[in-house]
Symmetry: C2
Subunit: 299 residues, 2 copies
Amino acid sequence: MKLKALGEDRLLDQLLPRLPLGKSVSLGAGDDCALVNAPADRNFLVLKTDCIVEGVHFLPRANPLDIGWKAMMRPLSDFAAASAVPQFALITLIASKETEAEWVKRLYGGLNRAAKRFKVSIVGGETSSTRGPVVISVSVIGFVEKKRWVSRRGGKVGDDLFVTGRLGGAIKGKHLQFVPRIAESRWLTKNFSIHAMMDLSDGLGVDLPRLARASKVSFKIEVENLPLNRGAKIDNAVSEGEDYELLFAVSPRQRDRLLQGWRKKFPKLPLTRIGSLNPQSAIRNPQLKGGYLHFQQRG
Amino acid sequence: MKLKALGEDRLLDQLLPRLPLGKSVSLGAGDDCALVNAPADRNFLVLKTDCIVEGVHFLPRANPLDIGWKAMMRPLSDFAAASAVPQFALITLIASKETEAEWVKRLYGGLNRAAKRFKVSIVGGETSSTRGPVVISVSVIGFVEKKRWVSRRGGKVGDDLFVTGRLGGAIKGKHLQFVPRIAESRWLTKNFSIHAMMDLSDGLGVDLPRLARASKVSFKIEVENLPLNRGAKIDNAVSEGEDYELLFAVSPRQRDRLLQGWRKKFPKLPLTRIGSLNPQSAIRNPQLKGGYLHFQQRG
């Protein structure tokens, strides 16, 4: 049955009872606003929105379960970057009236599965029709302890640069099925002083210069050390996006303890030192195509 | 200059410094997540997302200042419905690469102006390209005192039904320039026990049955008492949407004090008793075309 035959209210009747809802939700989807318990005073409230668009972030023939998964996991990857705990999500779905209701239900299956993976409650949303491509926008609300939040800004000269996992080639499939590094990020800030962190969504060559710029430093990459996915080359690791791995800066004094602790805690996931942060006055090394020049243009 | 020539990062450089930011924002747009102060323990956190789509909620030739205004004010109208105070907003803009950057700046001019009107900080957002119509999605985060929140669910048999302002004909222009009834709603919950409330976005004939259904009651409307906008007829007031006025249920014991206090506090804005809530077993009167039948189908 197509959405235009089913109607918005009947669609919602089918979707709403299946949404994951935690105990801290006082009023979930279906009313004008959602009401939830606020985080404790010692925490910051953390806010993030992201969207995926048909033809840009996924192909029309992609599995709707995967599309829903990706739509939820993208903003959750930003939570990993801030070392924050996600709690609540709002979903906006913009789709043609000709869309099959079954497709929408499977999309929500993917959104729900992804939300449950990180104990996120889906507390509201909005649907609208369009004559254009499908758009799914997800806003996520959560918290981070005031002593544990990390931004892109705190990188210091001399810091080691690390990345989790392997880079490059995500477009072959990983971009639809990745798991945000929230557990890893929470472990990092519990045990170490992480100076700056971000998730790699646009590619190391674009994202690392953003971290360096926000921290007012430059960087040096040991290209030969980049951890590559099977079949990926250095160019893929630098220029492609959608790795959703963590990039972070930490004092080299913590290096040994970090690498040893990591291997014990996350034995299956590589952690690789890929370079360091340098003084801004150092000669810039245009080793990162695109990303570096882009940074230089704006310096 | 078109967006594809300007590029996302340079566009953000121009937009971000102008975003309204209050003192409770610790980290605004530009990082992976926004960090803000959480509301006090005695309050609920309030969450709402809404979107507008070119060709559905606005025409391509509409003034971008008005479009931005409407995109922000729609979720704020839901805050009015919950008697909540909005504090933070996240913006998602999905537009063609061929869009003029100047158009986007004026759109943000409207978003910023609307946000400032209610002291809302714009703390983050996302942009994406599309080959389809423009989409603007706005998520708003705020608070409401645990003793003051109102939903659609609390209407009681015998309650008076009131609407603010006048209904019908919004499509002629008001839908782009309305002011959400947040001040009015906050006054109502400060001074009266409001049992149920919502904002009229889809039209009285659709929205009132939703309130009645959520409250598990039926309703009776005195059609001849509906407050009409100039040029609007009863049919317009019932069937058209986008009035963004408040509909609420309150005990008739408060009627006289409510009407007297309102005239003093909001002398320019009508407040009209339009009917009452009845027992669910009462014979249903299909006086509201579309809306009522829609309710009946689902009863």
